[in-house]
Symmetry: C2
Subunit: 299 residues, 2 copies
């Protein structure tokens, strides 16, 4: 049990501020919409709590005392700050404004994310979008503990009691090859042709869904990819491919990474695709989140 702070009732502070501006009990009471004696009481009560006079009442003239001068700015800030905070809270509750925290997979920074941010900013200019790059697993945790409101990730997990997901788009895989690689000469590649090449992939912890999708894809093609190096970002993966360390399989959106010495080639059995989804808390009733989901759905 902590020390309880002494609380100055806000009506008294309001009366104090108005009286400090008017320096006249009658007019101040008018502005406050109350009679004069109650105003005298308010000030007296406040002075009792402070322990010192806040005004000097010389006959005919009312003036702030030293204590009153020190209290006035704090009282003003508290009152205006609270009314503004109240308005901000209401606006946020009704969805007109506020902060929306969005987690996103790094692989989306070049594809869906920019358009989404632009569109939603057009629809709701007052809403600030706090975006933070994070891999799938941290996104799920952040969604659960409320650190983010919306997550953009690949390969959402199956049924979750707390979280809901909706597919935003699906895209095929492409092979990532060094330009010097023999297969880079072809426009399309059969997956089985990569069986003997070393692979560069994201670590499974970063996104189990996508990782499993890739390995199972290889399994159906009849081989297990031999991973020689892992990297947490696709940019890094491509850079490693460029050095000739190995090849990779990546979502087609990664073609946006234009890197000299790296070739992207379509994979012929393109029935297997990767899924980009948006996730949110099932319990989240906030209009801010709902509006963003609507923006995503419409785009």
């Amino acid at each position: 049990m902590e020390r309880r702070p002494e609380l100055l009732p806000l009506p008294q502070l309001h009366a104090f501020v108005v009286l400090a501006e008017e320096l006249h009990f009658g007019r101040a009471a008018d502005r406050l919409g109350i009679a004069q004696p109650p105003l005298s009481q308010q000030i007296r009560r406040l002075e009792d709590k402070v322990g010192h006079a806040l005004f000097t009442r010389s006959p005919g003239r009312v003036a702030l005392s030293a204590a009153g001068r020190e209290l006035l700015p704090a009282a003003r800030r508290a009152l205006t700050g609270l009314t503004e905070g109240l308005a901000a809270a209401r606006a946020a509750g009704s969805g007109r404004t506020g902060h929306l925290r969005i987690g996103f997979a790094a692989s989306l920074a070049l594809t869906v994310l920019p358009g989404l941010l632009r569109t939603h900013r057009e629809r709701f200019p007052q809403v600030e979008l706090d975006i933070r790059e994070m891999t799938t697993a941290p996104q799920l945790a952040a969604l659960r503990d409320g650190t983010i409101d919306v997550g953009l990730l690949r390969e959402p997990p199956g049924d979750d009691p707390d979280l809901a997901f909706r597919t935003v788009l699906t895209e095929p895989f492409v092979a990532v090859l060094p330009s010097a690689h023999p297969l880079a000469a072809h426009r399309t590649i059969a997956l089985a042709d990569l069986a003997d090449s070393p692979f560069v992939l994201l670590p499974r912890e970063a996104g189990p869904g996508l990782h499993d999708r890739i390995t199972s894809l290889c399994a159906t093609a009849g081989f297990t990819p031999r991973v020689v190096q892992e990297a947490v970002e696709w940019q890094t993966v491509c850079a490693l491919v460029e050095t000739g360390l190995g090849v990779s399989l990546a979502p087609a959106g990664m073609r946006r990474i234009r890197l000299r010495g790296v070739a992207f080639r379509a994979v012929v059995p393109d029935e297997a695709r990767t899924c980009v989804a948006v996730g949110w808390r099932r319990g989240d009733q906030g209009p801010l989140t709902a509006n963003l989901l609507e923006t995503i759905r419409a785009s």
Copy 2:
């Protein structure tokens, strides 16, 4: 009658802030020193006033809602600001700290003022001294309307129902001459010798007491000073004397103004002196003012 702002009771805001930190009704209630049901009520009441939920109560986990996130900083600022303001007001009321506004005649900036500021700062390091240069008449008005708490001026007016004065020091007059002036060759000067010289003086409105003192001094010496120029600051007066425009009579403290081409010479009938006084409001009971007067008295 102005629109009355909606007021969020501070106990509710305190409960809100603590709950936002704990995210657990039981622990928050403990910290607040109350039972859990009242806390639920506080939050509910606050949510009613805001019009939106401030927390999302998923079973087992409590988290801030969007509206709550917007309100939290305002609530924090208001609470801390008010406790600090309250402490500041109490400190000011008891004289430990605060702001003291001092008006002073420009002619004192080089003499009594620096020592006074230094001494008082040593006695009360926490008290901020706001000094502002102003002539006598504005000082009296500022004292009356509470714009300043203490005034340092020359030739205080006689009995005043609202204001009190105490003499700080008296000093003789000196003649201010251009170095080239024939009288500058003497160490002392008889006032009557200045009868034919043109005078540079402060305007009477700036300080009637001092002005009248000077003219009556001349009258007793048998002449009326012929004023050819007025200036509101002694620095300017000396500068004008230096150009040869005329001579002047100034308080001895003005000797501190070391200006090439200007000579200060004692006046032989030195029985007439000018008085530097400190003034304050009779009704001012504040310890800040009392402490400053004590500092002045002791120095």
